[in-house]
């Protein structure tokens, strides 16, 4: 993982086209697969998690945190982030969703520090709106980078 940002540029996709939440979660999962951090099974486990547990992963307006349980489908701790060209609905009061962060972890605690950094960034006032309107990966990184040094 990049030292400066908890999410590397390769793990970002901006203005992704997705017909529904499943396609959107899979798009985020495919980035983890492409990075060699998780397998296709993990991506499908993230979809199943929403099907089984409901849309609770839409933890705040416009934003979903997609993940599944630590398992053998995870190769290393990692995170990916996508923004959507058109938002999708999960069936949550916080719909519609414009930004999806997907995470995979090998165990519950190993990724705590990087999660803390990510949490601080996405919970900044207005961060989700700025991510949603970003046109390039560089703009996304600029928003994510705002936390640096604080």
């Amino acid at each position: 993982m990049d030292n400066k940002y908890p999410i590397s540029k390769e793990n970002l996709a901006v203005k992704v086209t997705a017909a529904d939440w499943r396609e959107a979660v899979r798009a985020a999962g495919h980035l983890l697969e492409a990075a060699g951090s998780a397998t296709r099974e993990y991506t499908e486990a993230m979809v199943s998690a929403v099907e089984e547990l409901g849309p609770y992963m839409v933890i705040m307006p416009k934003f979903a945190l997609a993940h599944a349980a630590p398992s053998e489908a995870v190769i290393r701790d990692d995170a990916s982030l996508i923004t959507l060209r058109d938002p999708v609905c999960f069936g949550s009061e916080n719909d519609p969703v414009y930004v999806i962060l997907s995470i995979c972890c090998t165990d519950r605690d190993s990724h705590r520090e990087s999660m803390k950094r990510i949490a601080r960034m996405i919970m900044q006032e207005g961060a989700i709106d700025r991510l949603a309107s970003a046109e390039t990966a560089e703009e996304v990184l600029a928003v994510l980078g705002d936390d640096q040094g604080s």
């Binding site: 998690a49 547990l53 409901g54 849309p55 609770y56 992963m57 933890i59 705040m60 307006p61 934003f63 945190l65 993940h67 599944a68 349980a69 630590p70 949550s92 009061e93 916080n94 995470i103 972890c105 165990d107 519950r108 990724h111 705590r112 999660m115 803390k116 949490a119 601080r120 919970m123 989700i128």
Partner: protein, 96 residues
């Protein structure tokens, strides 16, 4: 009285519960309150010893009727006002 234990719960105990835990810890610190906040998952949270369970509103219904400690549903993890109110209310009630 021993240390107050707050359990932040999500589906698997490693995603949104961690964000929730970080935010609760922030609120406690800002208000000079002390409690241990730890993460739990939906499947095992009821068997973990704690004084309260903070959980997303959607998941709260699954444990609300079975929990022996207060279950505090959170609608918007980003909403500092909601988190602050609910955390402070719990701390006030608990230490009454």
């Amino acid at each position: 009285m021993g240390e107050i234990r707050i359990q932040a719960v999500c589906g698997f105990g490693c995603g949104s519960s961690l964000l929730l835990r970080i935010k609760i810890e922030e609120v406690l610190k800002e208000n000079n309150l002390s409690a241990t906040v730890f993460c739990g998952d939906l499947g095992t949270c009821l068997s973990q010893q704690c004084d309260a369970i903070f959980i997303s509103e959607e998941l709260s219904e699954r444990i609300m009727n079975r929990a022996k400690v207060p279950v505090i549903p959170i609608r918007n993890f980003m909403n500092k006002k909601e988190l602050t109110e609910k955390t402070l209310n719990f701390m006030k009630d608990f230490t009454k």
